[in-house]
Symmetry: C2
Subunit: 224 residues, 2 copies
DNA sequence: TAAATACGGAACTGTAAAGTTCCGAAACTA
DNA sequence: TAGTTTCGGAACTTTACAGTTCCGTATTTA
């Protein structure tokens, strides 16, 4: 950025002004394993300090990097956060070994591994702390979800499979059901500060999700 | 905050240290109509700039007050915001004239007045922008925010009345149903950045709430 | 082996905003 | 009417942090 450099010491370069030869093959190579360390540090700090509570010094320190190293990769805090969020949402979807217990209820519960709960709560804290950042920078496309896509996709897959088996009417509103799961998890974590644990999830499934999916009425189309 | 003040200029006061006589009857009286103006200004700015985007100068300017006037009432930005949030949630619960259309569906929808939608969205934007503030200061008691209490109470009233009429089984999980409403509204506003409008609410009621309440099964106890 | 670029670390600059203090004017009380 | 507290407004101080620059060292290519 802004590499105009009005130096007068080297006049010999004037001739090459229009050459535009970056000649990138020189010097020490950039260590791209540092990228992940820095992004990870950024996510950690975002999770428990929020966007405005996070300083570039914190990130650099946590990643054991110099600030110059950070700014060599991302030209601003906003850019770093933007990419950190993308990195956080890189999904390791393992569609191959989906749970298959025979009932939707147990499939959904099987997806709730302790590790995924912990990770999900961390993501929630990150989003929660984004606050004013979201008002400055329009977060990626689609209004900024993407963060729940991974879980949401798996849930949708399980429910669709169950509907396909004939467990529920074909007109069941799968989208809305998926929204309920994610919304309840988020609200419970962010606002109520309670864990989205197995017991609560079972109550939600039995008391809300399954009855809603079983509903013989055709609910109006919801698509947002 | 940090009002220790180790001044040495006035030794005469030392004698009265334990007197504690504010003698408040002197001088111009504080104009308490300014309080509301300032709190309202704070809420407005919180709504479209967030906690960290809001400056005390903005608040003072918007309320046409001096900063000294603000700090005479609240000793810090955090304190001001704290009270502004409380003030925002002062509920004008009009339990007397609850809607009574005869069906729960229409009662719930009737509660969603255009004015309350607009107000609700403003509140959501405020919460959205709270971001890091929530991580610093544990907001109000009970872990929750209380911002949804007003609406939640009315919803619970309507649903209970409907259950009392015999529209739904007596074992219907009213608490959980209320949680669904509030959670979906919050998530939709905070994360999806979409309006919680009449159409979506109708879809939610028809597709989720009513089927869940109608559920003949006894769901496990959920009480948190 | 020399030039170029990377690294972690630290010092530095510039700016924005929290919080304080002072001003002249207004309002209240003894 | 004199002393006290309020008001809006503005100037001021202090602090924190984004972003830049420089250092000594390590790594890579020509």
């Amino acid at each position: 950025m802004k590499k105009i450099k009005t130096e007068t010491s080297e006049q010999s370069e004037v001739v090459e002004l229009l050459a535009e030869k970056p000649t990138r093959t020189l010097g020490r190579k950039r260590d791209h394993t540092r990228d992940a360390k820095i992004l990870e540090a950024a996510i950690d700090i975002l999770a428990d300090a929020g966007f405005d509570g996070m300083t570039m010094d914190m990130v650099a320190a946590k990643a054991k990097a110099g600030k110059a190293t950070v700014y060599r990769r991302w030209s601003s805090k906003a850019e770093l956060v933007q990419e950190a969020l993308t990195w956080m949402n890189r999904s390791h979807l393992e569609m191959e070994h989906l749970p298959d217990t025979g009932t939707l209820r147990d499939d959904l519960l099987a997806l709730l591994k302790p590790q995924s709960i912990e990770e999900g709560e961390k993501k929630l804290r990150v989003i929660m702390g984004l606050g004013s950042f979201l008002q400055q920078v329009e977060l990626s496309e689609e209004g900024g979800i993407g963060i729940f896509d991974s879980w949401d996709t798996l849930n949708r897959e399980l429910i669709n499979r169950s509907v396909g088996r004939g467990d529920f009417p074909a007109h069941a509103d799968v989208d809305l059901a998926c929204q309920v799961i994610v919304s309840m998890a988020a609200f419970r974590g962010l606002v109520l500060h309670k864990a989205f644990d197995r017991h609560f999830y079972a109550t939600l499934i039995d008391g809300i999700l399954l009855p809603a999916l079983k509903n013989p009425q055709i609910a109006s189309n919801n698509k947002d």
